[in-house]
């Protein structure tokens, strides 16, 4: 809801994302806070934030495929893995990172197209099954390829990014690097909804039979939804590879895919704001559980407790979100904002 006195005179005005000067000021404050954050935080928290930014990139991709186009994708982590392995391989050829990241994204996109092709015949959860196949097949293929290609069971080391004379290695470097990348992807994710392709995807999500009748090329839109979602995943994979400087199959599991989906659902599938809120909420919940599990372990619990606790917490969060608030935290946020704007009058 907009405050009184904000009028749109043109369509472009109406379609703007930041419509009031107050919104722009808040955004500027957020950017300044994120830029200044490393001055106050230790390397551990910088690592947490870097991880959060990379996760957010992957979840933006899911927002496109699942939230906008309505196609369930349970293989986002495998696609992130494809991006990471592509980056590891390409960085070995002394290619500049500005070229490696888009190439890795494109490779991931083309891999995803193969698994989106059954969209020609099936829809709904059947399509989810092909992405499940992608997720299960990914480690099998990587492990079966010759070791000198993609490292097999051992994994591959990644050449670090060199910018001029600087080699990226410290946590603060990666913090700023991923912050810039995630800022670019945020702009892309927020603007996609306003494009012709974005509207086509939303039409397909709401009712694909009607969309077809209206002249939206449904099959092409579905395949492109997977392609675009995987571009985001590929960039996330490239950042993961550069951040960890080593990639193995073991990091890209079905569980990670479920985590990404869970974050999106808890945040709200229908807006990029949901992706941001969900990723932040689940990441900080996980950090809290981490601290809790550490105290448990000091009193003699076993090491698997952390994994079990986080699984239970995330599973519980997804179920609670699905049952009680399918529109996610993003909807709660807009309700709170409207209430604040209308106060002292009741919201209805």
């Amino acid at each position: 809801m907009l405050p009184t006195g904000v009028h749109s005179l043109t369509y472009a005005d109406d379609a703007r994302i930041l419509r009031t000067s107050r919104a722009r000021h808040w955004l500027a404050a957020l950017v300044v806070a994120l830029l200044a954050y490393p001055a106050f935080a230790g390397p551990y928290m910088l690592g947490v934030f870097t991880h959060l930014f990379i996760t957010l990139m992957a979840v933006y991709g899911l927002y496109v495929t699942v939230g906008m186009a309505g196609q369930i994708n349970v293989a986002q982590s495998a696609f992130v893995g494809v991006g990471a392995f592509a980056t590891a391989k390409l960085s070995g050829y002394e290619i500049h990172f500005m070229l490696v990241i888009p190439l890795a994204a494109l490779i991931t996109g083309f891999v995803s197209i193969f698994f989106a092709l059954p969209a020609a015949r099936v829809k709904g959860f059947y399509l989810a099954l092909t992405t499940l196949a992608a997720q299960v097949v990914f480690p099998i293929i990587i492990l079966a390829l010759p070791t000198e290609w993609l490292g097999g069971l051992v994994g591959m080391s990644v050449e670090p990014i060199r910018m001029g004379g600087l080699t990226l290695g410290a946590p603060i470097h990666f913090y700023y690097f991923t912050l810039v990348v995630v800022a670019l992807l945020t702009v892309a994710a927020f603007n996609l909804k306003r494009s012709r392709f974005g509207r086509a995807m939303i039409a397909v999500r709401d009712n694909d039979v009607v969309a077809e009748v209206m002249g939206v090329p449904v099959f092409r839109t579905k395949v492109l939804a997977f392609f675009v979602g995987s571009l985001f995943a590929g960039v996330a994979g490239a950042c993961t590879a550069y951040f960890l400087q080593f990639v193995t199959v073991a990091s890209f599991t079905l569980f990670a895919s479920v985590w990404y989906l869970g974050m999106l659902i808890v945040g709200g599938v229908h807006s990029p704001l949901g992706a941001i809120l969900g990723v932040a909420f689940i990441t900080f919940l996980q950090e809290g559980l981490h601290a809790f599990a550490n105290t448990l372990m000091q009193s003699g619990a076993s090491g698997g407790v952390l994994f079990a606790l986080t699984s239970v917490a995330l599973g519980g969060c997804i179920l609670i979100a699905l049952i009680f608030e399918p529109r996610g935290l993003a909807h709660r946020w807009s309700v709170a904002r409207t209430t604040f704007q209308l106060w002292p009058f009741p919201r209805n």
Binding site: G70, I72, V74, F115, L117, P118, A120, R121, V122, G124, F125, Y126, A128, L129, T130, L132, A133, V136, V137, I140, I141, L143, A144, V209, V210, V213, F255, V258, L261, G262, I265, S302, G304, V305, F307, A308, L309, T310, S311, V312, A313, L314, G315, G316, I318, L319, L322, I323, P326
Partner: protein, 299 residues
């Protein structure tokens, strides 16, 4: 030649185990229109419950007669099914398919985490319910455990098929599998259908665990069988219970043939990839599988 036939026999028997797990998957879909990705976890939970009432209580010093353990396990499965219906799926009745699918995904990680919290991550031995070893038919060696399991699978498949197509209750479930809203408007209790679906699914999954694990080692990783059963269920047709064992045999034989002839060339990848390659091929060529329902959409 004898070697080949031996391989085919083994493939068919392993395939029937996949078929049994696929039946537990199909039963839930056929009675409640819920695609349950967490079937592997359900199987593990069923197996752990059975372990608790047999070897677990024996370790604690209480020796329960075997029949009572089975009855306790079935009782626990029924409670589990009712709890899932009440707390997870009742609020989701006639919600979009996406919500229900995601609920099953959430269940997958929730159950995995709970199993680890309650039973711990260590491996344990599963009670030997079927006799071990094998018997010979002519020149061929047949594994007794898998053979008895296969017989159970076929009996269950035909029994459940009769239930779903011949009894009044079973036909009501068919309406729920078609569409929740229409079923509700015809006066069919979708809640009841979902409870029945989960109780049947859990019991059948526990049977699958018995056949798969009898006398062997149980760990949380056994749950991956759930993802192997998915291509089987899809190939047989998600609505067809009798299709599941047949598809299981097809995939089981394909898998052992790939294991015998292609794996040496591909570092063991061919047999792992085969079920999923079949799955994608099925989705591209005949999405309803062998005997599934073909859905027609209207505006």
């Amino acid at each position: 030649m004898i070697n080949l036939v031996q391989i085919l026999i083994e493939g068919a028997l392993i395939g029937l185990v996949y078929g049994l797990v696929a039946i537990s998957f199909v039963v839930i879909y056929r009675a409640s229109r819920i695609v349950n990705l967490a079937q592997g976890e359900i199987l593990v939970v069923g197996a752990l419950v059975l372990w608790t009432f047999t070897l677990g209580t024996a370790q604690a010093g209480y020796h329960i007669p075997f029949v009572v353990s089975i009855a306790l396990t079935v009782g626990a499965c029924i409670l589990f099914g009712l709890a899932l219906e009440r707390f997870v799926f009742r609020p989701l009745i006639s919600q979009p398919a996406f919500s229900i699918f995601m609920a099953s995904v959430a269940l997958l990680i929730l159950l995995r985490g709970l199993a680890q919290l309650i039973w711990g991550a260590e491996t344990r031995s599963f009670p030997a319910i079927f006799m071990e070893g094998g018997f010979t038919v002519g020149p061929f060696l047949i594994n007794t455990r898998l053979f008895l399991g296969g017989v159970c699978t076929l009996l269950l498949a035909f029994g459940l098929h009769a239930f779903f197509t011949r009894t009044r209750q079973g036909l009501r479930l068919a309406a729920v599998a078609e569409n929740h809203d229409i079923a509700l408007s015809l006066g069919i209790s979708v809640r009841w259908a979902i409870a029945v679906a989960w109780i049947l699914g859990t019991v059948v999954a526990t049977c699958g665990a018995v056949v798969l694990l009898s006398g062997r080692i149980i760990s949380l990783d056994v749950a991956t069988i759930g993802f192997k059963a998915l291509p089987v269920a899809l190939l047989g047709g998600l609505e067809s219970i009798r299709g599941a064992p047949l598809a299981g045999i097809v995939i089981g034989i394909g898998e052992v043939l790939a294991m015998a002839y292609l794996d040496p060339l591909t570092k063991g990848a061919a047999s792992g990839l085969l079920p999923y390659a079949v799955m994608i091929a099925v989705l591209l060529v005949r999405p309803q599988g062998f005997f599934g329902w073909k859905r027609i959409e209207r505006l």
